[in-house]
Symmetry: C2
Subunit: 127 residues, 2 copies
Amino acid sequence: MRKSKQRDAILQVLQGTDSHPTAEWIFSRVRREIPNISLGTVYRNLNQLADGHLIQRIFDDGHLRFDANLHRHDHFRCIHCQRILDLEVELVGLDEAISDDDRFNATGYSLEVTGVCNECQHETEEI
Amino acid sequence: MRKSKQRDAILQVLQGTDSHPTAEWIFSRVRREIPNISLGTVYRNLNQLADGHLIQRIFDDGHLRFDANLHRHDHFRCIHCQRILDLEVELVGLDEAISDDDRFNATGYSLEVTGVCNECQHETEEI
DNA sequence: TGATTAATAGGAATCATTACTACTTAAACT
DNA sequence: AGTTTAAGTAGTAATGATTCCTATTAATCA
Ligand SMILES: [Mn+2]
Ligand SMILES: [Mn+2]
Ligand SMILES: [Zn+2]
Ligand SMILES: [Zn+2]
């Protein structure tokens, strides 16, 4: 993997946020630095970075989002605004339960908690 | 919601499998009964059934799948063949951890375990 | 510095899903 | 039972996120 200013910029943008953005959002940010970068380049590099374990992909309700936080952690997703928050929960006994199941060989897991974030909760109350 | 033979057939197909199928798979099955049903009808009805809580939607790696099992349960997904298996794991302490977090009001959660299913494991060994 | 070839920009293609519309039919009302 | 109504359907067009294609640019290295 050669270096390219496009990939560097994409990685920097992602590392500079905790918002779990879409490719489109990253595209709009990177454009400030590299105005003629193309959306295809953003997708290609995000996939390369994910394949090279420099970032991770997360699937939120059918849409692709990205996360530069490589530690194993989980997420909360607001069903109103789709905002994603990091979650640190300890899943007691899960590793054991998984390895006891002889139908498969597990390599990972992800937990998604859903609900309403505080911002959306307040909006609803105001109406 | 009026009754329609199309919706009845779709629900029956889904209730008759534990494979967590896609709309396309359900379409091909229902076609045996109703040869001129359209794919749009399958999607529309699956969405209605899900909105009416008669089935549930599950998101597997960016694709939409459906499940007639309404009990809260989790899933294993094979990263090779995309097969989905039902999982019954008890997430000890999760409810508490979630309600202690004051950034949101959680209403649900889902756990996806990933790995290689036995069938795919054997295939790999044979090569 | 020149050769090699990965990476890019821009645009076309893909594919799952949704939207549109004229026709059909369930079911509520006489 | 016949009439009215609006929900449901088939068929097809549209959408939108993502991937693919190709001529051109640029990183790397002898
Ligand atoms: Mn995260
Ligand atoms: Mn299931
Ligand atoms: Zn929210
Ligand atoms: Zn498998």
